[in-house]
Symmetry: D2
């Protein structure tokens, strides 16, 4: 994440010349040697290991928090207390309580500008999708299908890491991937989820650690249905064991007169269907690389595709603009809290149990060998 | 459905010359004129309106039940009582109780051969998928993603029909579309669903009838998670209001070492991913039109695609083969009962309520106008 | 081909009840046993081996010529002389001279109705494409990209057959596949090709025969550019050694304000792009299964896909309608002659040679091992 | 192009820390104000307008030539004469003669390192394709299908620019787009084109200029077949009027046992088909974002896609490595000359004429209104 954020700061002026100039001053890390090397590589003027000292320096205006989630709150609160502008990598924090504290701090009078780094808000295709929904191009939204599928844990032998322990990671696929999906839902609908039904599953309960097998204490996958006040139902499926999917954040939005589809593995494309009753209705695959598409004008000629990193650069530009120019800056810490509450509710729903059993099914299904064709 | 089944009987001998010859004897309907015309058009020797008389005729060996679901049980039970072979269009019946009665009757000594007409079992790509799972080509299955999406009810102004009344249709999208998806799941896994979490939604509660607005008493869409004894979790989403989807039965199967994907709108294609750790891993799009593919050899040269109707012809062939040659005949009535129980459990789960509320969410989401990009 | 045409006659009344009833009277073949068996299987009342006798029978109204190409002219001319309606499988004949004779005979006063069985004219998606071009939906056509790619001869060890000998087959990929592509071009543009530049290649010059290697005397692949009077340029590539392509007739039409794309491996889909200058322009993938699409209404509900065979049934319906109702019947024998002339011109262009050599190239290219990346 | 090259120099150290550090010293342009502004924006230390002075400065080691093509030779020759390392944006030059002079100069003893900036050589998917061909994964190559389709000139009203005048642009779509395609062909095959058949077309002969309509003196589109010594045939189609295509460099390579497909509009994907005779053969869509893929390891985690700009950064890294570490550096000036010769041969082939006329075609095609379906 440090690499991606550094890349954004290093390039923001080249792509968005209207934003105020930014100086890449200090990169902070735990290991002096490593952070020194990274600072040189990524273009920072200095390196440091004491974040507390750095966030109080007078020559620092913006603090960009890219630590693991359980440290977000502490660093960001200190930075806000020191009067800095603060951007925090998602998720806002690992708990609802910490998230609430951050929202509270961000609302204090005189606080700097704050932003949550849900970089996918600035995928041009997803920004275009939001815009089309807002314009009513697909009518009133009824159903949303959300999935975020990866497969880096599909192999039972993949080793234990801090990401698989609840105390450090907070959550598994649900927090890591589900937070992106729920944030997209909120952004597209402009309203939050108000009730959920959900469940979690850890398919591989133990993984090899340095001293033998260790227990995995977070989920490998999660499923939910999400409801909003206006009556939308969204389905959600996130997984780190979906073999063959590498980074498939999939968003499908079904409205009364049209629909939208997106898959992050094809970041530059958006599919739009509009029902007009004509014989030429059909899903239209928009290559989102035209100057009139959101964020694209800053980059390359039409048809020249953007990479994943471009979303961070656009994010940095919007933060810089808001600092000098004012105006709304999204997603906010409150947006992050809202997502965190939905994830917590999914975990609560899972804990509440409540599955229903179709009686007698074990006995009645004929053994059906899947090869039963001539 | 009568048209599709007639097409199968008319053509089965031409494609499958090994099956015993079949004579298309009597087409039964309610309106004498209409059924006479249809009989001529579709190639039946006679037409009739009294199904009870027909099922008892000595020159009738096979009864093919294509009525609406609430009549399936009555007709099929009479036919079985008369010693006939019986094939019933899916769903087996509208209720679990009727389904149980049919399974019971089919198990009586001396009963004819029985078959449930889940025609999608004989989509070559889906039969190939079953075969690959059985061979272990994708390892042990963990997750399945099932969806069946249509949009013929997306328009609020689409008129009331018998399909939207519980007393005639039994169920909405759940029964009509969900039954196909759950049957595929059972067939692919070779084990039944043993617990569920689910919910239903009627997005358009009233639709125009001949005498003014009428209440819709079935669901427009349904969602569920389905669990099996071996630990598989399947997600299910069915909808008749998924704008832009015409007939999208989508099946994705994620195993420990590979995955499969299918979409009925591309009936001749199956996607197979195998994780081998090589730089050339990726989802492979198989055009299922080769002679070695299930059912295909009977049809056209490689690359010459099959239509939806071909699945009914293959189904008819398998029934005829079983009648004369014996052997297993799937899907069975018991398979249909098993599906029915899962659908009933989803309805029960919905009725049990149990959603969880993320407290405070209404207040905390910033108003996020979806056009918030520069 | 006999199987596909029989299938059409057997089913035409079921799908197109408006056409006059047709009786499948005599199937003619060379081997009495084989043709008898085929007649029973495919639904013909009789079998025969003497086509001359059959084409003169009073109870025969229509003669459907499905022989290899070098016999088309003889049979069709005799049938026309006997006053029959005649449909000939494509290509019209193996030579321009025979084609001219057939066109001449079809134009005689009192001749029956004649039709060339280019079945792809009745692929709904291609018929829709023609219609959209005619309506001006993509503006004035400038470029067309035509390809017909198969791979059944990709293997050097694939054995010799009559299709690979000039005396029986007339031509290789050019005649077999190119004829379809050129016919589509003519149909879409409504004007013929008037000049060409082309070449042929036999990649596998010898193949195993029963008595050792034999010389292949037709092309494996061919390329051409085709020009029309209005200034359209079409590129053409046909191949039987395009590994991985099974039956890929690909048609792309680029007009001044839009474009169309089609691939026969996805027979039910047509891609339409319309340039409107809007941010939501993009290629639209139309699922051509709606009742308002050409030929589709006769078949299944929306979203239920059609197979390759449906095109022959629609073809039979149009012939029957024209016989009783009059009116235009396309493609005509003259259409077939026109295609034949284009194919002959491509062969002539190839024979004329005329390639240009970039001097010095052998020496100047650095050896570039394709693995040259770090 | 200056923006893309600057982006590469600014970021090369962050992605490829093994390369020697590079200082972005002087940006040269014609307008002092504009170049000063651009220098600040893109991160150059200085700006200048006199390129002759700059290429002779002692503190300059590398000269990166991004001028229009007709100035390439003059600048690059001067830089070479001054002992600099030189990278030239493609095409190498507008004429074969200039290209030869550049190759000659690059071969002088003591000359710096030279490189031609065909950035698409460093698209990971295309580099992987080269590697697979070299390893024999698709057998011996027979056919290649090359296309480069854009549509920015599809509109008749698009205005005149220097790119449409022969004296400044040298060539139209052929030089601009065809050069990329031919370079890919050479790189994939490792052998040059030795004979061609080709033609050009200017569909819009006049376009609006500031003082009224002006004559367009370059091609809008071009077609060719290209032959190599080993017997490969490649087809080529390039166009700037292919409505709906934005930046579609399409490469399809058909070998004796497999094939490859690529489309630049999906830069991160490569399709590989391997014929093994198994029922699960099919084209495999590889998401080229894994660490073991060429150039990818330097960037982001698996599944996180790269943009068009990444190819320039990789190119800069390879140049820097070669300068300090020696070793082969491709593509070379000689590679560029080789491409230039092929383009010149296509123009010569066009000029030689030689189309063949299918006699009689104007008269024989029936008028076929494209709407001729019921």
């Amino acid at each position: 994440m440090g690499k991606a954020h550094s890349n954004a700061w290093r390039n923001v002026a080249a792509f968005y010349p209207d934003v105020p100039p930014v100086r890449m001053q200090v990169l902070v890390g735990r290991d002096a040697d490593a952070v020194g090397q990274a600072a040189r590589r990524y273009g920072w003027a200095e390196a440091a290991t004491d974040w507390r000292a750095v966030v109080e320096r007078d020559d620092i205006d913006i603090v960009d928090v890219c630590t693991p989630g359980h440290l977000h709150a502490e660093v960001a609160l200190a930075a806000l207390a020191a009067g800095k502008h603060v951007i925090v990598e998602k998720p806002l924090a690992n708990t609802v309580a910490e998230s609430e504290a951050l929202v509270e701090a961000a609302r204090q009078e005189g606080a700097g500008r704050t932003m949550l780094a849900h970089n996918y808000r600035r995928v041009p295709a997803l920004a275009l999708a939001r815009s089309l929904v807002a314009e009513g191009r697909i009518g009133r939204v009824r159903e949303v299908r959300l999935a975020y599928l990866q497969d880096w844990l599909a192999d039972d032998a993949a080793p234990m890491t801090w990401r698989l322990r609840k105390e450090t990671a907070g959550s598994g696929a649900l927090g890591d991937l589900g937070s992106h999906a729920v944030d997209q839902l909120h952004a597209i609908l402009g309203e939050p989820v108000t009730s959920v039904r959900g469940e979690l599953r850890t398919f591989v309960p133990r993984r090899p650690g340095p001293d033998g097998p260790e227990e995995v204490t977070v989920d490998d996958a999660a499923w939910a249905t999400l409801h909003t006040a206006s009556g939308v139902v969204a389905s959600l499926e996130v997984s780190r064991v979906a073999t063959g999917r590498k980074n498939a954040l999939q968003v499908e939005v079904y409205g009364t007169s049209g629909s939208l589809r997106f898959d992050l593995e094809r970041l530059n494309e958006l599919v739009l269907h509009e029902s007009t009753g004509s014989a030429t209705d059909g899903p239209k695959q928009i290559l989102v690389t035209e100057p009139e598409h959101p964020y694209v004008d800053a980059w390359w000629p039409p048809g020249h595709t953007l990479g994943w990193d471009s979303t961070f650069t656009a994010q940095a530009a919007d933060l810089l603009r808001a600092i000098t120019g004012g105006g709304e800056l999204l997603p906010s810490f409150a947006d992050g809290l809202s997502v965190q509450r939905v994830l917590a509710a999914i975990e609560a729903s899972h804990a509440a149990g409540g599955v229903t059993t179709p009686t007698g099914n074990e006995e009645t299904l004929d053994a059906c060998p899947p090869t039963a064709y001539p």
